[in-house]
């Protein structure tokens, strides 16, 4: 059975791992994630000026937090949230790979996206996580 992507409007599997579905402003060059054509936060250009692009799920960790209390049933605690400045510009917040504790994380670290199973969702679903490069 082929695995299903949890959020195919946000990311898909590329030849070298997951890629993020973004938009790049033709007027100022700013990349927007998630993809949208409402308008560029940098300059206000909109519609066709917001060209669909795929950007690499690669960047540097700006910050992180181990979450120990969570209201939703979508993930087991503790889990790690990262704040990542993508190489293409956008800053995103994302769930980090299971099992990452403070000791394994540091600001400035290069991180890369991977598709992983979540113990709380069905076995054929893959969601985007980030982890330190080479882990």
């Amino acid at each position: 059975m082929a695995a299903r992507i949890e959020h195919p409007t946000l990311y898909v599997e590329g030849p070298d791992g997951p890629v993020l579905l973004a938009a790049r402003c033709a007027a100022c060059g700013r990349a927007s994630f998630p993809r949208q054509s409402f308008g560029c936060e940098g300059c206000g250009a909109h519609g066709d000026a917001m060209a669909p692009v795929e950007i690499a799920a690669r960047g540097a960790l700006i910050s992180f937090a181990i979450v120990r209390k969570h209201m939703g049933g979508d993930i087991e605690t503790p889990f790690a949230i990262g704040e990542v400045r993508l190489n293409d510009g956008p800053v995103i917040r994302c769930t980090l790979a299971d099992g990452l504790e403070e000791a394994a994380l540091r600001t400035g670290q290069k991180v890369v996206g991977l598709l992983a199973h979540n113990a709380k969702s069905s076995a054929d679903v893959l969601e985007l996580r980030f982890a330190p490069e080479g882990r």
């Binding site: 910050s63 209390k69 949230i81």
Partner: protein, 383 residues
């Protein structure tokens, strides 16, 4: 050309009132709000019929809470405008009241904040865009991410963050309007339930219910009330901004605070070092460290040392969150920004019984709201 508040006629705070902030109860919001309004009217020596206009701040009650509450003061036909600006709702109501008086449109205007806890769907969830992190980044995680950045930049320790809560809980224990009235040690705060990263539950503000009201007056309004000028507090400036794009990795909350407070201090012609009382948006402990630095109360990275040395205590160089702040006084949303103005007014009049900062002359009120937005006011004793 755009003009600052100070270019219009002078604006004063004449009366303040609160309903204590508390956990959710069966008390209707109408009873909470009326308590605050009647206390503010008594404080100003005003009758309800004197008030020409009301701004009602609420983030959670639903559409049009104003008249079902205010009609019980006598249906005077005054102007009623509702204000929703997330955590800054009360601050924005105060700003609109001040601007209405400054413009000459009215002489006596009341700003009222009232709220009760409720589950409200955030508009951002309906913006038409998917959210990668879904609901995994709670408010405490947003601020845990900021705390980690601050720790990385300045070597701050878990104790440094916990000490903010210890100070503000000690202040709140002296404030009869505060929701949390128990002091806690730094060790006790660190041993409490862990939320995310450095943050434990006492370092997070309680969202409860309550009300706050502030009556704003022109000079003519003060004369009409035969108000004692020695108790009048001048509103020197009002600044309101929203998040833009920052290069700064310190976080948008801090950058937005810096530019909004800078504008408020500039328009008031007040230096940061002249502030005696600061009420700021300490929904989470890390915010106080970040914001006092960005407000110019101390150098970047120096807030933990200053805090430990008592610089920000009541009786220190500048009393930060003498009310207990959001962490101890509580954060019922609509009332919060107005509760700050009430606290600053009492401090500047010398009427903050049990928690008076000696010689308080000038104060700053600061709130950040979801979005993000930021609203700041500078107030000063008139005599």
């Amino acid at each position: 050309m755009a003009r600052a508040l100070s270019a219009f006629r002078p604006v004063f705070v004449a009366g303040v009132g609160l309903h204590p902030y508390q956990k959710y109860s069966m008390t209707p919001y109408v009873a909470l709000g009326l308590t605050a309004v009647r206390e503010a009217l008594a404080d100003a020596g005003a009758r309800w019929g004197d008030v020409e206009s009301a701004y009602v701040a609420s983030a959670l009650l639903g559409m049009a809470p104003g008249r079902p509450m205010l009609r019980h003061l006598g249906a005077s036909g005054l102007s009623i405008t509702h204000v929703e600006n997330a955590s800054a709702s009360g601050s924005s109501a105060f700003r609109l009241a001040a601007l209405e008086v400054a413009s000459g449109q009215s002489d006596l205007v009341i700003a009222i904040g009232v709220d009760k806890p409720a589950m409200v769907e955030l508009a951002a969830r309906q913006a038409g865009l998917d959210i990668l992190e879904r609901d995994r980044v709670a408010a405490f995680t947003h601020f845990a991410l900021l705390a980690q950045r601050y720790a990385d930049a300045h070597g701050a320790t878990p104790e440094d963050f916990a000490r903010v809560a210890a100070k503000n809980l000690a202040n709140g224990a002296r404030n009869p309007y505060a929701q949390r009235r128990e002091t806690r040690s730094v060790a006790d705060i660190l041993a409490a339930t862990k939320l995310a990263g450095f943050l434990t539950s006492p370092q997070s503000c309680p969202i409860g219910e309550g009300a706050a009201a502030v009556i704003v007056a022109s000079e003519d309004g003060l004369k009409r009330l035969k108000f004692d000028r020695a108790r009048a507090v001048r509103v020197l400036s009002s600044a309101s901004r929203s998040e833009r794009l920052y290069d700064d990795d310190g976080g948008f909350d801090a950058a937005l605070t810096e530019e909004t407070v800078r504008a408020a201090l500039h328009d008031a012609d007040v230096q940061p070092s002249a502030l005696d009382i600061v009420e700021l948006h300490d929904a989470f402990s890390v915010e106080e460290l970040l914001y006092v630095e960005r407000m110019g109360l101390c150098d970047p990275g120096d807030a933990p040392r200053r805090l430990k040395a008592g610089h920000f205590d009541i009786g220190g160089e500048v009393a930060v969150s003498a009310s207990g702040g959001l962490i101890a006084m509580g954060h019922p949303l609509g009332p919060t920004g107005l509760g700050q103005v009430a606290e600053i007014t009492r401090q500047l009049r010398g009427e903050a019984a049990g928690r008076q900062h000696p010689g308080a002359k000038t104060g700053l009120a600061h709130m950040v709201g979801l979005g993000a937005v930021c609203v700041a006011h500078v107030l000063q004793r008139d005599t």
